[in-house]
């Protein structure tokens, strides 16, 4: 089978790209291993809601029209939303099509799938940044008899064996799972490394509204001081609770979650925690207040009455005098570890040598410069801070589809010029 562009992945990124390719009259297919919005269907826990408000799911040709712009979609609502989008734009999705190989051929790429082979000029990798849970090396030392789960496998508290839980990682997944488990009656210990603390609402508006309006989310990747660091920042400690409450380490301490430092080792049936808890919390408090300073400064330049409430600052993260450095799994009846330690993309099927030692595709703002005609989407800070948000993939798809169209145009000219030169 032959087409101009193969998009791999029918999530928000692949679909946004499909919209833009259609707009530019570029023939394409969208290959999807499962169904549209597959990761949202199969890799999320039951109670999860989107971390961004309803209004902030703008996609090419789509604006939120409902009556709850500030609400947070449940997973079934998110799946239905992306499905409706795929249908409304008439995306040429081939569901149930697993890609097993992508490789160079003379005039482009060959994409081998469970449903046949495609030849094409250009490929867009839209399979996302969160395919494989990333486990720290210490995961190998977990003693027998302890269950381990990743956020991709976690569904609800009833799924866990009786007993206490150690949640490793205090970003969006870890804090929400710790909150849910503790409220279900479990005794939860949360191992905390570097994290990003933000309030859900500030001065009467959602934090995402401020970051969107003030341009923080649109900051381009080539204007960032240290893009490597920016691409490795942990996810914001946010939850999409209907009551809009703030989730942070203080709110978790208040319901009884025990905070400990980063998990540094497991030895002799005991987990060892870093003594750096106080500093990672100090860093997060300082950075949160710096963000709030930025927002306040921006509000001051805007005039009018954007802010509904006056500025405020939050209590520092409260840490007990001597947080425990050891946890004896047996003595504390801890039966489950949840690894909320981040994700990596899976490009094991990509037979083009553009993947670095950490499993990421090398790219310049989504353009895989080492392999012309190849593009990647949905990676952290791909082109702007919101590249991993539903709301951000539309702008990325516009920019990358423009590059892709220009590439195809140049290619045709070169081919024609070459044909002319040999007198065809």
């Amino acid at each position: 089978m032959r087409t101009t562009t193969v998009i791999i992945g029918a999530g928000q990124a692949g679909l946004a790209m499909s919209w833009w390719l259609a707009e530019r009259s570029i023939d394409h297919v969208v290959l999807e291993r499962g169904e549209v919005a597959n990761s949202w269907r199969t890799e999320r826990w039951d109670s999860l809601r989107l971390l961004t408000p309803n209004w902030q799911s703008r996609l090419p040709g789509h604006r939120y029209q409902g009556d709850d712009p500030d609400g947070f979609r449940t997973m079934p609502e998110t799946i239905a939303f992306i499905e409706r989008y795929a249908t409304s734009i008439g995306a040429p999705v081939r569901a149930g099509t697993t890609v097993t190989s992508v490789r160079h051929i003379a005039d482009g790429y060959e994409v081998v799938t469970s449903q046949g082979t495609w030849q094409c000029n250009t490929v867009v990798l839209a399979t996302g940044a969160c395919n494989i849970p990333h486990l720290p090396a210490v995961a190998k030392a977990v003693p027998p008899g302890i269950d381990t789960l990743t956020p991709i496998q976690y569904r609800n508290p009833q799924q866990l064996a009786e007993g206490g839980v150690l949640v490793v990682g205090a970003s969006a997944s870890g804090t929400q799972i710790a909150d849910e488990l503790q409220r279900s009656g479990r005794s939860v210990t949360l191992a905390v490394g570097e994290h990003v603390r933000v309030p859900r609402t500030y001065r009467g508006r959602d934090i995402q509204w401020w970051m969107d309006a003030s341009g923080v989310l649109d900051q381009p990747y080539d204007e960032v001081d240290d893009i490597v660091r920016a691409r490795n920042v942990a996810s914001l400690q946010l939850a999409g609770y209907p009551d809009r409450r703030m989730i942070d380490l203080n709110s978790l301490t208040a319901i009884g979650v025990k905070l400990v430092g980063r998990l540094a080792g497991i030895n002799d049936g005991k987990a060892q925690f870093s003594g750096s808890l106080r500093n990672v919390c100090a860093l997060a408090d300082l950075k949160m207040h710096r963000l709030l300073d930025t927002i306040d400064a921006w509000v001051a330049t805007q005039g009018g009455d954007l802010a509904i409430e006056p500025p405020r600052r939050y209590d520092p993260t409260s840490i007990e005098a001597s947080p425990p450095l050891l946890l004896d799994f047996a003595r504390r009846s801890v039966k489950t570890i949840i690894w909320a330690t981040g994700f990596r993309p899976d490009f094991s099927w990509l037979d083009v040598p553009v993947v670095d030692a950490k499993g990421n595709v090398r790219h310049d703002g989504g353009v895989v410069t080492e392999s012309p005609g190849l593009y990647v989407m949905g990676m952290p800070y791909l082109r702007r801070r919101n590249s991993t948000l539903i709301d951000g993939v539309g702008d990325d798809a516009r920019d990358l589809s423009a590059h892709l169209a220009a590439y195809l145009g140049n290619r045709r000219q070169t081919t024609r010029a070459a044909a002319h030169a040999v007198g065809v």
């Binding site: 540094a264 080792g265 060892q272 750096s276 100090a282 860093l283 207040h289 710096r290």
Partner: protein, 188 residues
């Protein structure tokens, strides 16, 4: 578009350009980043020993300090010793203090913050029933370390706090003290 060189008047005596250049160079040659730090010790008598440091390995070759540095260590008179040098745990505090302070100077330079004075006091608690073997529930080492900085710099209190926090984030000795490390001691 014109390029302007911003003249920086901040000088904390740290060659930040060299450090940032090294980070970039090492990204391309990670093997050069492998260092080996070494020390040799000789027992002098009683609890008194003398440690020297000189050679180390890094950037793919052996290096020597400009001169050999010597650290005398002993136990104090309250331990019925002769107090001919710092106690080993005080040397650990010296290591932490100098590591964090070097980090503060470097981070301040990167952030264009002029330092005028930096001092810190360090205090570590220890229950000596651990090292005496009097109570197996008491650990040998510190039960905590408290570092208190006094910094005079051209920066806001929050920016100074951020300097100190960032220097902990990048400190080798802070990491060594806060995280477990495998230690292998053999008899040759």
């Amino acid at each position: 578009m014109s390029t302007t060189t911003i003249e920086t008047t901040v000088n904390n005596g740290v060659n930040v350009a060299a450090l940032l250049g090294a980070r970039e160079a090492l990204a391309k040659a990670p093997e050069a980043a492998q260092f080996k730090w070494r020390a040799t010790v000789t027992w002098v008598g009683g609890t008194f020993s003398r440690t020297t440091v000189n050679g180390y390995y890094g950037l793919g070759s052996e290096h020597q300090h400009k001169s050999e540095f010597v650290f005398d260590a002993d136990h104090p008179e309250v331990f019925a010793s002769e107090d001919r040098g710092a106690t080993p745990v005080e040397l650990v505090l010296a290591g932490l203090a100098s590591c964090l302070t070097a980090g503060i100077a470097a981070v301040a330079q990167v952030r264009n913050i002029q330092l005028h004075s930096v001092t810190a006091t360090l205090e570590a608690g220890m229950d000596i029933r651990g090292i005496l073997g009097a109570d197996s529930d008491v650990r040998n080492g510190f039960d905590g370390v408290k570092v208190t900085y006094k910094i005079d710099a051209d920066a806001s209190p929050d920016d100074i706090k951020a300097l100190v926090a960032q220097s902990q984030k990048r400190s080798a000795v802070y990491d060594i003290l806060t995280n477990p490390t495998n230690v292998t001691v053999e008899v040759a």
